[in-house]
Assembly symmetry: C2
Amino acid sequence: MTDRRTSRRVRNAEDKRRAILDGARAVFMANGFGGASMDAIAETAGVSKMTLYRYFDSKEALFAGLIEASCEKILERDPSAPLEGLPLKSALTRFGRQLLETVYAPETLALHRIVIAEANRFPALGVLFYRSGPERNIAALAEYFDGQAAESGSGIADPRKSAEEFFELVRGYTHLRLLLGVDAAPDAAARAAQVDRAVGTFLKTLFPERHGPDPG
Amino acid sequence: MTDRRTSRRVRNAEDKRRAILDGARAVFMANGFGGASMDAIAETAGVSKMTLYRYFDSKEALFAGLIEASCEKILERDPSAPLEGLPLKSALTRFGRQLLETVYAPETLALHRIVIAEANRFPALGVLFYRSGPERNIAALAEYFDGQAAESGSGIADPRKSAEEFFELVRGYTHLRLLLGVDAAPDAAARAAQVDRAVGTFLKTLFPERHGPDPG
DNA sequence: GAATAACGATACTGTACGGTATAGTATCGT
DNA sequence: ACGATACTATACCGTACAGTATCGTTATTC
């Protein structure tokens, strides 16, 4: 029975591969591409260096594999999952909270940092990351806007642009501050407040006539 | 006359220092901290490696010196210079155009990349960068808002937050796409269009009652 | 239970790099 | 003109690292 079900060898191989990628993630994210050594990765992964090279041809290949795996993990989530029928304000709030939860998470920040840092050396990974993450969020929200437009009759002029604007308002400069290590990570309450403000601001840009004079 | 005016020796020293920093900028920005070698920097700067170490104690010190110098250069500009008395819309437009011109410039993008990348290894530089750049822009705009409030009577509830929101809308996701190498740098016309849209959107968030129904 | 493949441990190679030492040359101040 | 200082060029040291080779061990397959 060479491979009834999945042979044990294959499963072990998958385990090894996961272990290697986990170790690579830890070391690469903490030290960057240049600061990470293959010896350190092997040790962190609990694997001999030979095994490393059995699974990945080179340091570059390992790095690329890691980023691709991280992007695939992002892709597993459906960003628009349960929001199809929701009213606008609720949908925006949930979109926003979900965004901040993932985007402010240390792992996501580390991924941002390293992909931005190595965008020169690995141009394809920058594109892959953008398409797997931000791009999909934007597309999902834009699609939701389109659905809303069909329902309510009155549509948004440029759903894509509006979607981008919403996410910009949500993530805010806090995102940059986190990437730079200026701020500490905000807790759930702070994140919720930030989303609420962003939703309020954004709704004014969509339907200015519904809001009275604001200043004060 | 050991130093009537500035002695020639110190002028030469300043020149050398500038040359070294220029070389360091080119190499660091192109290859990152880890990918940059002191030999390459020396060669690019047209200077012997010994001279490098006469001016900077170590690679870290040189890197820190470079970032500090870059931040000082940013600080020389007064972000709020000629906008004091301008009406709101004009002021925002000029704020916005100035922001995009500098923030989308390749050197600024490279600085962003490298500071974000090395925020772990050099936490102080991340803070320095933020305070020299984004923070000052935000503060300048917030101050302008305060001035407007004093003039017009009706103020903005949270000028700082509003200033951040404006700049978020202006730089947009294009900034991330540029950092990731997904988009090519937009030309002046595209930047102007982006600013105009951001200004329009932002004004709706400030004075929703002044704008009629928008969708369509 | 033998054959086979994967793995661990470790030693090794070549090289690139950070930093230093040295020796000789140009430049500056007086 | 002379002494001091800055600079170049180059060789060098130690180390760290990417990648390879070897060998003994374990575990899987049939």
